[in-house]
């Protein structure tokens, strides 16, 4: 660490930072508004960044914290791996997940800003493409090895002298189920990096190269200093926690996730060497995903206003065993590794809760809830593929109930509107509502999960890759567990229940019901204010029976207005098979 900033830099650095963040924000807006697939344009599953000539992150814009560590890992690895020429007007494409993405769906585009024949900086746009080929529509299914998960694109030059390489594009589009969306999304990514390069060039023209280079160094140094100052507020020592994934989808054997976190003056070290070895299944994750989990858990404990750049990453050390579930190597499949990232995140949060209880939240729904389906669209005769993730409950907090139906922690993707989805895809929804009684009880209860019932116009292949069917979200400090995830075919009839990871063929007209987990409770349920219980009953969040049995609060008022208006709407009555 070098000395403090010169006083004049302390006065002007904020201005430089505004300029850089403005560029990545502009890149994000361009990508979002021009993209074709719902997952990018509506659900914001993408990330835009600027890197300096040494492949250090200097500014980022994203809505998904699961991208906190991906590009920071991915981009240096792509640049180190790519051995072709690099000229002005070029851009490199890559989805080779083990270099740092979450899965093959994360397609990364890197464009250099060339000055005097040397790269001065890079503009990068990574987006989750809805399908990259492979064994299941949406490319996120149960697979034994990566080769089943889709087209693997090593770093290749897709743009040369500002012109798309038609043969690379043809190779890509021929291998995916939704070529029109893939091409539109790739063009939106190209638009995004071109905006980034243009704005960065203007910044250099305005300030001069030396000043920009010095500004970058100062900004990273400043961020590092602030990050060190922020971790100074954490208690010194080692904390740890262990949790398990339900299974790997191929066998019933739970997957151990364990984190030992050591906080020192200048570093926070995440020792993950106790995690299980990688499995012949899609649940493995990469160094990039693992860094995201650790970085997120740490950021939640410290100054939320910290810039996100290389200066922040410098305070984080992640120790893993190559070939483990949190640092998998080829040919490990990684399609559903985000659930491992999610579990690792909450395991780290549980460790922090032991020393910072006032800040902590109990377990959330604890799974990504990857849903994908595809088939021939009866409306058009063309193949279609669709991907989304569903919200669930957030854990209770000190003084605050958990949030109902929300994306927790590293995940923050929006829902796709019912009307838009029904207009564009051969699917109809029967219900999209909260699941009463799905909360973990506690002095501060968890949030409710949600229910989304699908019925298809034609035959489809339907995949769920998730977690928390077997091991429910747990409470904190005496709070109770939440209802786990439930997947039911024909919920009003036979109600066949499915495990956390499955791919099935559904016939047109068949109903599949997704009921997501609630959040765990915080604190002893006996300390809950009875008035809050009564309010939950009045709002139909908790049944009178559960109020009586779990919260020991007798509610003698008649059922709530809403319950009377929609008799039989309580989904829990339908799943007792």
């Amino acid at each position: 660490m070098t000395g403090p900033l010169a006083p004049t830099d302390a006065l002007r650095l904020e201005i430089f930072r505004h300029a850089l963040v403005g560029i990545t924000d502009e890149m994000s807006v361009t990508l979002r508004k021009a993209a074709y697939s719902t997952n990018i344009k509506t659900r914001l599953d993408f990330s835009c960044s600027l890197f300096d000539s040494r492949a250090r992150t200097i500014a980022q814009s994203f809505a998904q914290p699961i991208h906190l560590g991906t590009l920071a890992t991915f981009v240096p690895a792509i640049l180190a791996t790519y051995d072709g020429p690099l000229e002005a007007g070029d851009a490199i494409l890559c989805n080779q997940g083990h270099l740092g993405g979450l899965h093959l769906n994360d397609v990364c585009l890197v464009a250099p800003l060339m000055i005097d024949g040397e790269p001065f900086a890079y503009a990068v746009a990574m987006a989750h493409h809805v399908d990259v080929g492979g064994g299941t529509p949406g490319s996120i299914g149960l697979h034994r090895e990566q080769y089943q998960e889709g087209l693997i694109i090593p770093p290749v030059r897709v743009l040369h002298d500002g012109v798309i390489d038609r043969s690379v594009l043809a190779m890509l589009l021929e291998n995916v189920r939704s070529p029109r969306e893939a091409e539109g999304d790739l063009r939106a990514q190209l638009g995004s990096v071109s905006v980034g390069l243009r704005r960065f060039s203007e910044l250099i023209a305005e300030r001069g190269r030396p000043a920009v280079r010095r500004g970058i160094d100062d900004l990273l140094e400043y961020t590092h200093r602030r990050s060190v100052a922020a971790i100074a507020h954490l208690p010194r020592g080692t904390i740890e926690a262990t949790d398990y994934l339900d299974d790997d989808g191929m066998t019933d054997e739970p997957v151990k996730i364990t984190a030992r976190i050591t906080i020192t003056d200048e570093k926070v070290t995440f020792d993950l060497t106790g995690c299980d070895a990688q499995r012949p299944s899609s649940i493995n994750t990469t160094r990039g995903g693992t860094l995201s989990a650790c970085a997120y858990a740490l950021r939640c404990q410290i100054d939320p206003d910290l810039p996100i750049n290389d200066g922040f990453y410098q305070v984080i050390d992640v120790i893993t065993t190559p070939g483990s579930v949190v640092d998998s190597v080829r040919p490990a499949a990684i399609g559903a590794g985000a659930d491992t990232v999610g579990r690792l995140t909450e395991t780290c949060l549980r460790a922090f809760a032991t020393v910072l209880p006032e800040l902590a939240a109990a377990d959330s729904k604890g799974s990504m809830m990857n849903i994908s389906f595809g088939g021939v669209d009866p409306r058009t005769g063309r193949y279609f593929v669709y991907y989304e993730t569903q919200a669930g409950g957030y854990g209770g907090r000190s003084g605050l109930d958990g949030i109902d139906a929300i994306q927790p922690h590293v995940q923050n993707t929006e829902n796709a509107p019912i009307e838009e989805t029904e207009s564009n895809y051969p699917v109809r929804f029967l219900r999209y509502e909260l699941v009463p009684d799905s909360e973990g009880p506690g002095r501060w209860r968890g949030g409710l999960g949600l229910r989304r019932d699908y019925v298809f116009e034609g035959d489809v292949t339907f995949s769920v890759m998730t977690e928390r069917v077997r091991f429910a979200p747990q409470g904190l400090f005496g709070g109770g567990p939440a209802r786990s995830n439930h997947f039911l075919r024909d919920p009003g009839g036979k109600a066949d229940r499915f495990p956390a990871k499955f791919t099935i063929a559904l016939r047109g007209g068949e109903v599949m019901s997704l009921q997501t987990a609630g959040g765990g409770g915080y604190g002893d349920v006996r300390d809950r204010d009875p008035d809050l219980v009564r309010a939950d009953v009045a709002a139909g969040r908790i049944s009178p029976q559960r109020a009586r049995e779990v919260y020991a609060v007798a509610v003698d008022s008649p059922p709530s207005a809403a319950e009377r208006a929609t008799p039989g709407s309580d989904p829990t009555t339908e799943i007792q098979s």
Partner: protein, 729 residues
């Protein structure tokens, strides 16, 4: 037509009034403290003062115009309603689920915005439409009656109805409304197919529910204002400013109260449009910098830029263009503003990494900046301006509020000590950081949309806008800077410059290559007739401005772009032209076009507006304003007026006739950009300037409401109506 018009704008701190004699142009202005517990109290105090000063009776006023925050506050403080929601069975949690996202990524204690209808009052109705509007499950009328019975028993009298796909086929919603009217006497009903007939159920439900939620509050507020006006013998009607910058009669506003949620900012933009027209500038960026925030807006080709989707209650200046979800979405035309937490009261501080930051925390009015001498000790942007001589010790409020320069200097010095720099460097840096945040906001407004600031003028207003305008112009390359003479009461003035206007948009999803042009024409004609029917009766005749447009996207995209449809018959050639215009707009906005890709229309939109009234503007003034320290006293603004048109539009930038070099009234030491010391800078009194005067920067112009800083490289010319026009040499 002779008579008086009076305009009242209620803001967070002050209620401003402007009374105008429409024939002579004579004007009286006043400022009283707002009365948030009962805004009508401040309204009538302001009105009475203006009437008294002018010596006229309310009966002589032919219209009373009003911009109000009553609807906004009802939502922000959750004091509207109560309201109920009827939704398709299985989907009544549309408000609870919302977008399922967190607006704050790293806060474990985050929350979702609280819905305006509690879950117990959201009912499922058995019915179902398909995506194309065809009926899958007919309406079960008993399920409506069951809900109605409970609503009736509860006392709730405002009901929102939002059924799936009702924007394609409104018949189920219409039948629900009939049943509700039968079952619940006196019920007020908001249908999603009427309020916001667009695809995507959450924003449509949110907007419809907001309409139902603010209805009762707006209704009783308007009733109390109208009763007060009647008691005073008023014969004129009450007009309200809508979010889209158009006026509505009280009666039409009550039909769609959600449309007046952004009443206040719209009035400021309307005034800026007025002055832009006066000086002949059609393309303008507006900078409204007040005490807490700065708002950047845009006037493009004479019309203030609007957006059709925004959030109420979202945190200003969240810093990321992709973060949203902190507020409640509202569909409908509203002034498109980028708002950031940088105002005169924004506090400068040193963050844990040791760098200087400004805002978003503001010293507000209490204690206010250190220089107000009311106990504030933290340095603010205003303190930096005082320390650097940009604001004189006696420049505020026409000299009646004297500033404590020593307190400002002490606050700056404390900050400078901690940074290890001189006070001068610290003060200059505070302005630089605040300016850079505003430059970023302005950049979002212009460059990000593919608009080049070199083709735009910057109109700056609000208490602090005229001090910071030159820096924006230099950084972004605006053609010129325009400072209107009424910066401090601009919103109230904007009411007088506004006219009735209705924006109407309907879903119309058709591929442009196969659309039947006759269907487009017929739909445009139909929605134009619907829009005109929503204008107040008094505004329907006459020469209406009619703007038609389509929202268009490439097939597969979700985000559309608005493209104007020229008047005249819409035929195949017009469809082809529209497609080409869309490709060009996409190229401009998103950096590429795909001329061979399929294109679809998503909405058709129409805007109908009555002509804006001409306002006689004062040519010279001997003006006084209310002392901010004793703000409840209003002072007459007795101005001799020249009617609009006496000076040719565009004369500000025109020839040399009548040009005089203005004489400064004095000088004070002030910092000029790129200087190293304070230097003596000439100071002009705004009230001593006359049309045709010129002066060269660096210079300071002390006005009653604000000080204008003319930076070194700028020349300033006093245009018609004493609009200041600053152009870089």
């Amino acid at each position: 037509m002779s008579g008086f018009r009076v305009a009242i704008d209620i803001g967070g701190t002050f209620t401003d009034v402007v009374l105008i004699d429409t024939e002579s142009g004579e004007r009286w202005t006043g400022k009283v403290l707002s009365t948030p517990h009962d805004p009508s109290e401040g309204f009538f105090r302001a009105l009475d003062i203006a009437l008294e000063l002018a010596g006229v009776q309310i009966g002589a006023c032919r219209s009373v115009l009003h911009a109000t925050t009553v609807a906004t506050n009802a939502v922000l403080t959750r004091t509207g309603g109560p309201a109920a929601l009827l939704a398709t069975d299985g989907f009544r949690d549309v408000l609870e689920i919302a977008r399922q996202i967190r607006h704050d990524l790293y806060d474990l204690r985050t929350t979702k915005p609280l819905p305006l209808v509690a879950r117990e009052w959201a009912f499922g109705i058995r019915e179902r439409l398909r995506y194309d509007g065809s009926v899958l499950l007919p309406l079960d009328e008993d399920s409506v009656r069951e809900a109605a019975a409970q609503i009736r028993a509860s006392g709730i009298r405002s009901v929102a109805v939002c059924l799936l796909h009702a924007y394609v086929n409104p018949t189920h919603e219409q039948r629900v409304a009939e049943i509700l009217r039968d079952e619940i006497p006196g019920v007020s009903i908001s249908l999603s197919s009427v309020i916001a007939p667009e695809m995507r159920e959450y924003p449509r439900a949110s907007t419809t529910v907001a309409n139902a939620y603010v209805g009762p509050v707006v209704g009783s507020y308007i009733a109390s204002i109208e009763a007060g006006l009647r008691d005073r013998g008023a014969s004129s009607g009450l007009w309200l400013m809508k979010s889209n910058g158009g006026l509505a009669t009280a009666a039409t506003a009550l039909e769609r109260p959600v449309e007046i949620i952004e009443s206040g900012p719209a009035a400021g933009l309307a005034a800026a449009s007025h002055y832009a027209a006066l000086v002949g500038s059609r393309d303008v960026v507006t900078l409204d910098m007040g005490g807490t925030t700065a708002k950047v807006g845009m006037i493009d080709d004479g019309e203030s830029l609007q957006t059709t989707a925004w959030e109420i209650g979202s945190s200003a200046g969240s810093g990321s263009a992709v973060a949203h979800g902190s507020g409640l979405p509202i569909l409908g035309s509203v002034m498109d503003l980028v708002e950031i937490g940088a105002g005169g009261g924004s506090i400068a501080w040193i963050d844990p990494g040791g760098i200087l930051r400004v805002g978003p925390r503001s010293a507000g009015a209490d204690p206010g900046p250190a220089c107000y001498g009311r106990g504030g000790t933290e340095p603010t942007v205003t303190d930096a301006n005082v320390f650097l001589g940009r604001i004189g010790a006696t420049s505020m409020a026409g000299g009646r509020l004297s500033l404590d320069g020593a307190a400002a200097a002490a606050a700056i010095a404390r900050l400078a000590d901690r940074l290890g720099v001189s006070s001068l460097d610290a003060a200059v840096a505070i302005l630089d950081v605040a300016d850079s945040a505003m430059i970023q906001a302005t950049r979002l407004m212009t460059i990000r949309r593919g608009l080049d600031p070199h083709g735009y003028d910057l109109i700056a207003f609000g208490g602090a806008g005229p001090l910071h305008a030159c820096r924006q112009a230099t950084a972004l390359g605006f053609r010129s800077v325009i400072i209107p003479p009424d910066a401090g009461v601009l919103s109230a003035f904007g009411l007088l410059a506004s006219a009735p206007r209705v924006d109407h948009r309907v879903a119309f999803r058709r591929r442009i290559d196969v659309v039947d042009p006759a269907e487009v024409s017929a739909t445009l004609d139909r929605i134009e007739a619907e829009a005109i029917a929503r204008l107040p009766p008094e505004a329907r005749g006459g020469d209406l401005r009619r703007d038609r447009a389509a929202d268009i996207r490439y097939v597969g995209q979700s985000w559309d772009l608005r493209v104007a449809i020229p008047g005249g018959v819409f035929d195949a050639a017009a469809a082809a032209r529209l497609r080409a215009d869309f490709d060009a707009a996409h190229e401009r906005t998103h950096g590429y076009a795909a001329p061979t890709a399929l294109v679809e229309m998503v909405h058709l939109a129409i805007s109908v507006a009555a002509p804006r009234p001409g306002i006689a503007d004062r040519a010279v003034a001997d003006r006084a304003v209310a002392d901010r320290a004793v703000a409840d006293r209003a002072v007459a603004d007795r101005a001799v007026a020249a009617p609009v048109g006496a000076a040719p539009v565009g004369a500000a930038a025109g020839g040399d006739e009548g040009q005089r070099t203005a004489r400064p009234s004095g000088s004070r030491p002030a910092f000029v950009d790129d200087g190293i010391l304070l230097v003596e800078v000439p100071v002009y009194r705004f009230n001593g300037l006359r049309e045709g005067d010129t002066l060269a920067g660096p210079a300071l112009i002390d006005g009653d409401d604000s000080t204008t800083f003319v930076a070194g490289p700028f020349d300033c010319r006093v245009g018609p109506h004493r609009v200041l026009h600053l152009v870089a040499r």
